[in-house]
Assembly symmetry: C2
Homo-oligomer: 227 residues x 2
DNA sequence: TGATGGAATTATGAATTCATAATACCTTTT
DNA sequence: AAAAGGTATTATGAATTCATAATTCCATCA
């Protein structure tokens, strides 16, 4: 029996705007018109403005006092900084996971790993990514640290718009799979330090293959009156 | 020439509530009455509610749909989890700082370090903590990663209510100073890995001396209807 | 022609009002 | 007296209204 969902309008609206941003329907740097979004969603300005405050706290939106909101501009440096941070968090998740993960959880991850390998050999990129994500989520969950999970998800949302290169080269893909092989070894050995290090490096490799679509150079930021 | 500050009411209110929580005027788990706070601050409910949304995103406040807000309850596990996370972030800040810090910045930190030592020897705890914080902030700043800084500050705000033990033992204090001595050595050598490790350990030591005032056991959480 | 100044318009900030869910209190019944 | 049910009250959720800052556009003047 699932709990009754007390949905608030502002949460619903925030979710929808997040989707719009993620999907690119709201472009980076684009001005967000309250009136227009209100009409789109069919809500008044109150819940919309509350949603914008939340999204601003999450770093997805920028609020310019007396001048409204706009989709946060990502700079190359910000993306790099975020990846550095996510690397540290993934590393921590690996260390923590090794401290308390049980055999069943490890077996489950190994199973996912095998699935992933199969998708790799069949060159099913879509499916590969899906399972890949599941593996990382499993490790994060095994770390059993809610605060970490929350922070990681938030960061990951910020850079979700930065898409992987459509033509991820074979070499990179091979490298990624190789990283994962090492992860499994470290995980089975419950070698936290090592797993953490592999995860950190793994994310660095990831950064190398992202296309910086919608990302601007550091000095191209649209100037704004600061609050 | 400093920029004109466009203050919004909701920011002001959020700051004030943060202070109330930090100072303990709003106790953990305490119900926050909109009406009462509105009267206290002399504002209408709109900016207050916007402020609460922001504080909820920051993890300082909990919003219960149709039942208002209350100050976030910290559990022992949450504090421990948060410290683990902050350790990882401090570690990263050390690594990053070593990669790009210049001699001037190092000299400035060394100066702070000497001041801190003096306060230690004079047993001026208040002054010691102030300089101590400056050192950590300097390293964080030297890391030159805005996202990291933002996250770290947020986490630090969440556990600010958890006070250091009034009677921090001499042994712990000695240990802390010792950690700092090693930090300086690693920093001067620009040994990022090492500085990172020291900072991580240093935070673990810190966790040991916090008094868990206002912090409850994991299973004592007041049950609430979830949104 | 370009720059400056001011009125008109538009958008945001905040207060108020209305709607509804949650709570408290009282009555009724066994 | 205790429990159940229903009404009254209170607090929150959302829409609307009012105030004000920002922008646009046009007229004026150098």
């Amino acid at each position: 029996m699932s709990k009754i969902q007390h949905r608030n309008l502002y949460r619903e609206v925030a979710d929808r705007i997040r989707e719009l941003i993620e999907h690119g329907d709201l472009a980076p740097g684009e001005r967000i018109s309250e009136k227009q979004l209100c009409e789109t969603f069919g809500v008044s300005r109150t819940p919309l403005r509350e949603a914008l405050k939340v999204l601003a706290s999450e770093g997805l939106v920028e609020l310019l006092p007396n001048r409204g909101a706009r989709v946060m501009q990502l700079t190359v440096k910000m993306v790099k900084d975020t990846y550095d941070l996510m690397g540290a968090l993934e590393g921590l998740s690996g260390e923590l996971a090794c401290q308390q993960i049980n055999d069943g959880q490890i077996a489950a991850i190994c199973k996912l790993h095998d699935q992933m390998l199969e998708h790799y050999h069949n060159r099913e990129m879509q499916a590969y990514f899906a399972v890949n994500r599941q593996i990382h989520e499993s490790i994060l969950a095994a770390a059993n640290n809610q605060v970490l999970e929350e922070m990681y998800n938030n960061l990951s949302y910020r850079v979700k718009r930065v898409r992987y290169s459509k033509k991820m080269t074979d070499a990179f893909w091979r490298q990624a799979v190789n990283d994962h092989e090492m992860m499994i070894v470290a995980l089975k050995a419950r070698d936290g330090k090592r797993l953490g290090q592999i995860l950190r490096d793994h994310l660095c490799h990831k950064l190398e293959v992202v296309t910086l679509a919608g990302v601007i150079e550091d000095d191209e930021l649209i100037n704004a009156v600061n609050g």
